[in-house]
């Protein structure tokens, strides 16, 4: 193949590739954009069946991953005790390097 043929082929595959990438991602993007109706949909259904049990899917989920994990693990714990332990664990783990990462007490587990 001459250089120009190679170049043409490369360009063709680039158009093809970027085309597929954009098509697939736009398609997923469209489907995901419908997700926002999902909780309402489910809640509507649930309300009909069990009016009192609808708070599950709409439960508030803090954006901060640290809080989320800890709150999941301690949903029923005494909040004061939890606060103390959480603070202690944070003190024990604090590092300056990467502050945006989540801290997770992985090891306290139920078997």
């Amino acid at each position: 193949m001459t250089l120009s043929e190679i170049f043409t082929k490369a360009i063709m595959n680039t158009i093809l590739g970027m085309g597929v990438v954009f098509s697939v991602l736009i398609f997923i993007s469209f489907i995901i954009s419908l997700f926002k109706y999902l909780p309402g949909l489910l809640e509507g259904r649930k309300t009909k069946k069990h009016p009192a049990a609808a708070d599950d899917s709409a439960s508030i989920r803090p954006a901060d991953a640290t809080d989320r994990k800890v709150s999941e693990d301690t949903s029923e714990g005494d909040p004061v005790m939890v606060a103390v332990i959480t603070a202690a664990v944070h003190a024990l783990m604090r590092e300056e390097t990467v502050t945006t990462d989540a801290y997770v007490v992985r090891s306290i587990r139920r078997i």
Partner: protein
């Protein structure tokens, strides 16, 4: 006594000193250099330490990668796509796709940044690589190590796997150095100061449906990506389902780091002097830089377009995060944004394109496989 001197002679024949080429010595120095960068500079140490050590071992004792050698056994697991897929399961178990679900338009930025791949692909073709080699090299621009190793293996580019993997992980470590100048050159200070609306709350049911829907859609269109995308999404489903915490924990911790050790050392061991010290490696290094730069630029430019179309609601800086390198590139967006306005908090908005870039790269890899008829 002649027995001793004779045997000593034989021993001497077997030592590395008489068997290693200058190339091996050079590679030992390169390995030490990478160890220095990984340990002293903190550049992607989780992968560069094992990779550099594999590089060291194979250049002192090449049979370690021959049939029956320790690292060859590990390498078979790369070749069979087991290790990259399992790493992706761990990545999925660690990744929060929430910001992407909250703002699905991020997918467009994750798509735009894949142009870096194709820029490198064109370059590789022009530099004389054949089709499949060019594709395997160019995927470095996707900034996803496992995808690079997966594609190189599927396209049969074993000889290039070492340089590709080393280049991919090295440039991923260099993201905070490569990206900012490009980002600043392509944006005005006003653009960089744009504050974006807070992301909406994402419910648990959306988070659970996401990995299932993405698996079905992507794997239906590009079936050969199923091991990679499927495992990524399985890991994420473990995480978001909330009912299999032990699997989430195992996939993202013990299993993933075992795999990292096996993959790192064996990929490093593909860089024997003969495989690494040649013009191809230099070309790959150049092409990797091209890929990262064009990916960053196209992400930012597409971000500017979205900024215009949205009436200034999108900060173009989040576009560069589309190259993935999760979560480094998103942090770079955050940092460059905060330089322009210290109260600007872009991290969460940049995580959307960032994780979309992972899917985008898998789609690009799947498209290459489909074009070349790999199943």
């Amino acid at each position: 006594m002649s027995y001793i001197s004779e045997t000593l002679g034989n021993l001497l024949q077997q030592t590395a000193f008489l068997n290693l080429s200058v190339g091996n010595l050079a590679m030992i120095a390169v390995a030490c250099g990478f160890l220095y960068l990984a340990i002293a500079k903190g550049y992607e140490p989780l992968l560069l330490v094992p990779i550099a050590f594999g590089m060291l071992l194979v250049n002192i004792y090449p049979p370690i990668m021959d049939e029956g050698g320790l690292l060859h056994y590990f390498y078979l697991l790369d070749e069979w796509a087991i290790l990259p897929s399992l790493i992706f399961m761990g990545v999925g178990a660690l990744t929060d796709f929430g910001p992407l679900i909250a703002n699905p338009k991020s997918f467009l930025l994750g798509a735009a940044a894949q142009f870096g791949i194709y820029a490198a692909y064109i370059g590789a073709m022009l530099l004389g690589f054949d089709d499949k080699a060019a594709a395997a090299i160019s995927i470095i621009g996707g900034a996803d190590g496992p995808t690079s190793i997966f594609l190189a293996s599927k396209l049969g580019q074993v000889a290039l796997m070492g340089p590709i993997a080393v280049a991919a992980y090295s440039y991923m470590a260099l993201v905070p150095i490569i990206q900012p100048p490009i980002m600043k050159a392509l944006t005005t200070k006003e653009e960089r100061m744009i504050k974006m609306d807070q992301l909406r709350h994402v419910s648990k049911v959306e988070r659970i449906c996401f990995p299932i829907v993405v698996t079905i859609v992507v794997c239906s269109i590009l079936p050969s990506t199923a091991p990679l995308v499927g495992m990524l999404m399985l890991g994420n489903l473990f995480r978001e389902s909330g009912v299999v915490r032990q699997l989430t924990e195992t996939a993202s911790n013990a299993l993933m780091y075992i795999v990292v050790i096996l993959l790192g050392t064996s990929v490093g061991a593909t860089t024997s002097a003969e495989a690494f010290l040649n013009w191809s490696t230099i070309k790959i290094v150049v092409l990797g830089l091209v890929a990262f730069s064009f990916g960053t630029a196209s992400g930012v430019i597409f971000g500017k377009i979205m900024c215009k179309l949205s009436g200034g609601k999108v900060n173009p800086l989040i576009g560069s995060a589309g190259v993935s390198a999760v979560p480094m590139a998103a942090r770079v967006s955050q940092k460059v944004g905060a330089e322009a306005d210290p109260t600007n908090f872009l991290l969460m908005h940049a995580m959307g394109p960032n994780v979309a870039g992972v899917i985008g790269t898998a789609v690009a890899a799947g498209t290459f496989m489909a074009i070349f008829g790999v199943r």
